[in-house]
Structures are given as C-alpha cells and as structure tokens.
C-alpha cells in the first residue's frame, strides 16, 4: 500500500503543456520538402515512392502530395542531389486539401515549424463555443490501427486531452466531432454513413492519417474507398502515418476554430 503512495508522490505530473506552451519537436519526422535549386529532375523519387505520393509536374519537377505521403522518408534517402529532406513539422493540418500539394521551393520559402502555443484568442474561443466540452467519437474505418493507438495516446497521462475539456464518447449520438481513421473499407462504408447520420448537427468530421486523407498506401485497392471524403464531407485533414499526438491535438483544435 505504501508503495502506491510512494509512486503518487514520485510522479506528480507527467502531462505536457501543449497547446498552451510550445512543444519540443526535435527529431519529429514531418512532411518531405523538395528544394527547387538542387533538384535534378531525375524522377527517382517518383518512381520509387511506395504510396505513389510524388507526381511530376509540367516543368519536370516532383510534387509531393502530403495527403498520400506515408512519411517513410525513402525519397529523402534515394535522392542523390539531397534535394529532398524531411521537415520536422507536425502542424500541416488543413481544411483545404489543395494545401497538401507541395511544390519544390527554395529553402527560404519553407515555413518555419509553428510549435508555438495556440493563441489566447483561440483558447477563449474554444471555451466560448464549446463551454469547455467537445465530445469526439473516434471511428476506425479500416486503418492499420496506428492512428487509433495515437488517438488512444491522447488520453494517456502525457497528453491528457480531458484537461482541454475534450473527451472521447461511446456513441456518435453524443458526439460533436467524428475523428475518422482509415481509408473506409467496403465493409465499413455503411457503418460510417450510419454513424455520420446519427451524429447531431452541427458536427465536424476530422480525417486523421494518410489512409483517411486519400487511401494512403492502400489507395485503389479492390476493397477500399480512397479516403473519408469520398464517403462523407470532411472539415479537417490531419496528414501523417500515423500523425503524432501533438499533430492530432493541433488538428482537432484547428477544426474547432471552424465551428461557427
């Protein structure tokens, strides 16, 4: 019994302060970036990409589709000219899928990673709109379970999403937000539609992970759809394979901002 109290005293608080304070993102594997001045247009990256996330544009430059990218960093390894590198970004979530197409840039254009805390106004807005409560229903529509483990990790002592008033609920009928992972398999198609219909309005749908965004590596299979937005409308896209917990937190908070 004493041992229990010893532990309680030893580990008082594990929770980090993100999103109220910046988070250390050193070493995060983020989306790849292509340097226009170094690229030799050899197309090796596009030919070898396992998720077919790199296309060649009219000028012969490779473009990365972050929504399909599985963050495997193979392109960065294969590039002879070192024109591709993996950023440390985890804040690529967006409501507009077109933002997820990355063209080659020169190094100055690559935006610095925004690890900063979310602004105070957003914080107040969240509290105002939701009165400190957002109920999320997580739906696995055919993922590899990586994203689901990361969604689970949002509730662990380190991230503890409940401190923001965000909870995961058991039924879509209690939910304000659907967090959907997976490419929507044929077998989950109807279940997802039914869950969407059961969620009361206003509702937001957040697609989480490469499969949910575009099908990812499972794109164009005989048994899946190509992403959640081919079945139900999506308000926020969180790229990653799987996205790290801070990336999911960022995406969820950004999605809340869209609630009118």
């Amino acid at each position: 019994m004493l041992k229990k109290y010893e532990k309680v005293l030893k580990y008082r608080r594990l929770t980090n302060d993100y999103p109220f304070k910046p988070i250390d993102n050193t070493g995060y594997v983020g989306a790849p970036a292509i340097l226009a001045d170094k690229c030799q247009k050899c197309r090796i990256c596009a030919q070898n990409c396992p998720a077919k996330a790199i296309s060649i544009d009219n000028d012969g430059y490779p473009n990365v589709h972050i929504d399909q990218c599985i963050y495997c960093s193979l392109c960065a390894d294969l590039c002879h000219a070192q024109a591709i590198f993996m950023t440390e970004s985890f804040t690529d979530s967006t409501s507009n899928k077109a933002n997820l197409l990355r063209k080659p840039m020169i190094i100055e254009q690559i935006p610095a990673v925004d690890t900063e805390a979310l602004a105070e106004e957003l914080k107040t807005k969240i509290q105002k709109t939701l009165r400190r409560s957002l109920q999320i229903r997580e739906i696995d529509a055919g993922s590899c379970n990586g994203c689901d483990y990361e969604a689970n990790a949002l509730m662990n002592p380190l991230n503890d999403l409940e401190r923001l008033g965000i909870t995961f609920v058991a039924s879509p009928r209690h939910a304000d937000m659907l967090l959907v992972t997976g490419s929507v398999t044929r077998n989950m198609h109807r279940a997802l539609l039914q869950a969407y219909e059961a969620t009361p309005d206003p509702k937001i749908v957040v697609a989480c992970g490469a499969c949910a965004l575009s099908g990812g590596i499972f794109r164009d299979s005989y048994a899946t759809n190509n992403g959640v937005d081919s079945v139900i409308p999506v308000d926020m896209y969180i790229p990653g394979c799987p996205p790290r917990p801070p990336a999911i937190i960022y995406g969820i908070l950004k999605a809340i901002d869209r609630i009118k």
Partner: protein, 546 residues
C-alpha cells in the same frame, strides 16, 4: 485432473522419420514425392487431394504438430494449377513441414480438413472467398470477407482478376442477414455489439448469446477492415512491399517488417551484418514491451484499477520515449530495411538507452509488486476467461494466449531467427489459461525483454549496419519469414515474381489464429467481463482482416 500435457506434447519423432511415413502414404497411391529442403528449416513436399486428409491425420493427430498456416497460391502462370500450402510446424525439432497440394482450375475444390483440425476453418473460408476454390464438406461454408455486401464478387487473389473496380454498395435492405446463429427461446437473448465499438478500438462485430448473466455463445464477425493487402502487394516491387508490410498492423510494425525482411533475405541469401541483427533485436523487443504495457494498462483499466492503469500507461510512455530517443519514430516505422537497418540507431546512444531501460525495469518490478499485492484486482483476473490447453492447441492459439494456457512455445526459442539463439533470455508460460495467467506471462515477458535488450546493448560491436540486396531477386523463389510478434507467432510467406516484383505475399498474423480462441475463453463468463477477456488477448483486427 485431465492430463493435457501428456495428450498435447508434440511428438518427439525425428523429422526424417515423419518424412518417411509421409512418403509411404504417397507411395500407396503411386504419387511421386519430391522433397525440397529450403532456407534451413523449411521442408516442402507434395501430395494430392486424395492423400491430403491422411497427411493431416498423421501430422496433426498422430504426431500432434499444429497446423500453423494454410494458404493458396495461383501458380497457373508457372505450372498450370493452384497450389495449396499446408504448414505444420515441428516446434521441438525446429522445422516446418509444408505440404503442397495442386488444384487444377477445372476442378476448383479441395477436401476440407476443418472437422478434424478446427484451426483450418478460417483459412479454408478465406481461400473459398478469395480464390473461389470450394472446401468440400466444410461444416460452415459461409462468407468470411464480404458480409453479403458484394454479391458474386470476383475471386480477387486469382491472377486472372485484373479489374479491381467495385460495384456500388447495395441498399441496406438488399444485404442478407449475417449467417450467425439465432436462438429462439424466451430465456435466451442476444446482444449485438459493433462493428463500431464504444472505445477507441478497431471495428468488428460480436454477437453474444446470453442466458441470464453468463454468455453461452459468442460469435464474431471480422474482416471489417479488409483492405486487400495481399493483392496490393502483388502490384508492388520487393522494395515497396516492405512499406506495405509495415502497415499490416500499426503496433506490430517492426515484427511484420522483420518477418518480411527475413523472407526476402533468405531468398537473396544475404548475410545481414551482426550490428544490424543486434539493432533489430533491440527494436523488436522494444516494440514488444510497448505493446505489453498497453495491454497490461488495458487489463487494469477494465477492472477499474486506475492507479495500475496509469502506472502501465506511464511505462508505455517510457517505451515510446525510448523509441523516439533511438529512432525518432514512435511506431518504429522506416527503421528496418531489406538487408539491415536504416541507420545506426544505437551509435552514441548506448548509455542513454541503458539508463532508460534500467528505469523501465525498476518501474516494472515495483509495479509488479503493487499488482500482486492487490487482492481485489487479482480476484477479478483469476478464473476469468479460461482458455483450456486442448482448445488452445486445436485452434493453434499462439503467443501469450497459448503460453498462458500451457503451450510452451515461443518462436524465438523454438525456431530461432536472426541471432536470438546467441542470447539467454527467460521464456515464460503458465498453465491455467485465465486472464491472470495472461497478465502474469505478459508482465514477466516484458521484464525478460528488458533484460534481453540490456544484454544485447552490452555486447554491441561496431560494424556495418546493412548489406545491399541484389537488384533482382531470383524469380519464383520463395521463403518463410517467421517472427515472434508481441501477440505471437507471425508468419509471412513471400514468392518473388519477374523483375523483382512480389508474386505472392501471404501474411498470417498471430491475431488470425487467436481470434478463433476468444469465443471459447468467453463462454460462461459475464458480459461485463468480456472487455477484460478481450483485452487480455489484445488482438489486432487489422492484422486479422488484412
């Protein structure tokens, strides 16, 4: 007490002797036996559909070798027929008998062995769905993959099926009721659960048949996350297939990619450098402890012991932190590589890793003490969800599920791969098969994994971290890659095609076997105990559904 040990002990007969007996069966029907020994411990031999049941009887019943895998390969382009591969593993002699049975396209059927060997049930139905080969006299020949939402779907894994487009989803009213047993009685009721569950977990449908409080029958309907992984692999190169193997099941990323690499390296006859082998063992064990902590935390959470749940959750976080410290990833994705590992992950980090591992070890020991002194907690675990040894054997329950039921079998010990045979580590097994046994086996296994990692780091030597594989692997060569994932024995069979592509990639994860065992463990328990029992097995849906 029923002496299951005497009954279930695998035969001590030498592999050669068994081989002679098998050849004799073939001789009776004037079938020529060709024996191919490959890749160290794989013995391939052929038979016909006529002799198949006799082969199965001899291997599975007389010698008590479990059926560990069964799959079909469309070899019409190579030799004009389909081939069924029945794998029986001889755990005591470190070898696998792989019985190949040709099936001609003109006669698309084969004799079912499910009535004798229940473990074959799902494999045969899978072949029925994806190859349109009919298992004759199968006791339950129903759809496994598509739940009636794709009438007359093509046999997708046949090579002749190249049109991968889907028809529109039928109206809900046009989808037939699932082929599940209903009971018409005023005292018995059924509870349907899923596919979307209350927690943050993967989808699957459970139907409980309940009489009063206890569950008298549980039926599972899986394959909600069927993504067509095996067909996708056939459109990929060996290099690309590696990344697909990492995405078979999220938290078994490394075990799956490890198995894939082992298979490809056997085909290429590549010698992986020692430092890469050691790094792989460290990462594989790291993944194992992370998975175990997650499950232990789940068990504690499902008994409402939130202190223990947080404690194990904290250990899991420590595991993830170590993974991030070493590899910059949490799921160890893109750390493995064909022919070695991607980077020298331990260089200059040995000391830091040892410190973190020691902290984890201290915490495991303390937490074990707390858990084992909590009588209310233990009371909830003991005698809950018992999986009997003979059921575990019949269904080839593997990993923790098998070891907690008395099947003393661990791939790392019985069929050592990589350089596991160079290290001493404790293997654990218990006999009662209840949640408590699975909890304790997991806990001790996590501890011995930490110790194993420490001893590997201790003996780490400088050296190369990968060898390049040849640009083109020899076409139509094949090999097994078998690893012990956190959930159990993980078997990948790879056949190379022309131009370094994948011809066939068969994945059998431990979850595929263990899902068959869950309904047996649940019987006679209360419905509120189901989450606890399910958690103690900790199975992957994605790994089962592919």
């Amino acid at each position: 007490m029923y002496d299951y040990k005497a009954h279930l002990a695998p035969s001590a007969t030498l592999a050669d002797e068994i081989l002679k007996q098998l050849t004799k069966i073939n001789e009776q029907t004037q079938t020529k036996t060709a024996v191919i020994r490959k890749n160290g411990n794989e013995i391939y031999l052929n038979t016909t559909t006529t002799n198949l049941r006799k082969f199965n009887m001899l291997l599975n019943h007389t010698h008590r070798l479990p059926l560990t895998n069964l799959f079909c390969n469309d070899e019409i382009a190579i030799n004009g027929h389909f081939t069924l591969y029945y794998t029986y593993s001889h755990h005591l002699q470190n070898c696998h008998f792989i019985i190949t049975v040709p099936i001609t396209p003109e006669e698309p059927n084969f004799p079912s062995i499910t009535k004798i060997t229940p473990a074959a049930d799902k494999y045969e139905r899978e072949i029925r769905d994806l190859f349109a080969l009919e298992p004759l006299e199968h006791p339950n020949p129903t759809d496994l993959i598509y739940h009636g939402n794709w009438q007359n779907h093509p046999p997708h894994l046949r090579k002749s099926v190249t049109d991968l487009s889907q028809p529109p989803l039928p109206e809900a009213k046009d989808v037939p009721e699932p082929a599940l047993i209903t009971i018409d009685s005023p005292d018995v009721y059924q509870i349907p659960v899923g596919p979307i569950h209350a927690g943050v977990i993967e989808p699957g449908h459970f139907r409980f048949t309940v009489a009063g409080e206890p569950i008298i029958n549980l039926q599972t309907k899986m394959h909600y996350t069927h993504k067509g992984t095996e067909k996708l692999a056939e459109q990929m190169t060996i290099q690309q297939g590696f990344f697909l193997s990492e995405r078979i099941s999220g938290d078994e990323t490394f075990a799956n990619s490890f198995a894939y690499c082992l298979a490809a390296e056997k085909i290429a006859k590549a010698e992986v450098p020692l430092r890469a082998q050691h790094t792989r063992i460290i990462l594989a064990e790291l993944e194992r402890i992370i998975s175990h902590f997650g499950d232990l935390s789940g068990i504690a959470g499902d008994t409402a012991n939130l202190f223990l749940a947080s404690q194990f959750n904290m250990l899991r976080i420590m595991g993830y932190n170590l993974a991030h410290y070493l590899t910059n990833t949490r799921f160890l994705r893109s750390t493995n590589k064909l022919g070695g590992v991607r980077k020298d992950f331990l260089k200059g980090k040995e000391h830091g890793a040892v410190e973190q591992l020691k902290a984890i070890r201290r915490e495991i020991i303390d937490t074990t003490e707390i858990a084992q002194n909590d009588t209310m907690f233990l009371d909830r675990l003991e005698h809950t969800g018992v999986l009997y040894a003979h059921t575990a054997y019949d269904l080839n329950a593997t990993g923790i599920a098998g070891r907690a039921s008395g099947l003393d079998y661990d791939v790392r010990k019985n069929h050592p791969y990589s350089v596991y045979d160079q290290f001493k580590f404790a293997a654990h097994h218990l006999d009662c098969g209840d949640v408590s046994c699975r909890f304790n086996v997991r806990l001790s296994e996590a501890l011995s994994s930490v110790n194993l990692m420490l001893s590997v780091i201790d003996g780490l030597k400088d050296g190369e971290i990968s060898v390049p594989l040849p640009d083109k692997l020899p076409p139509y060569e094949y090999a097994y890659g078998i690893t012990e994932a956190a959930r159990g024995e993980n078997m990948h069979w790879l056949m190379v095609g022309e131009n370094n592509t994948i011809y066939r990639y068969k994945v059998r994860t431990p979850s595929f076997c263990n899902w068959m065992a869950v309904p047996y463990a649940v019987n006679t328990n209360l419905v509120p105990d189901f989450p606890l029992i399910n958690k103690s097995f900790n199975l992957s849906y994605s790994g089962n559904d592919l």
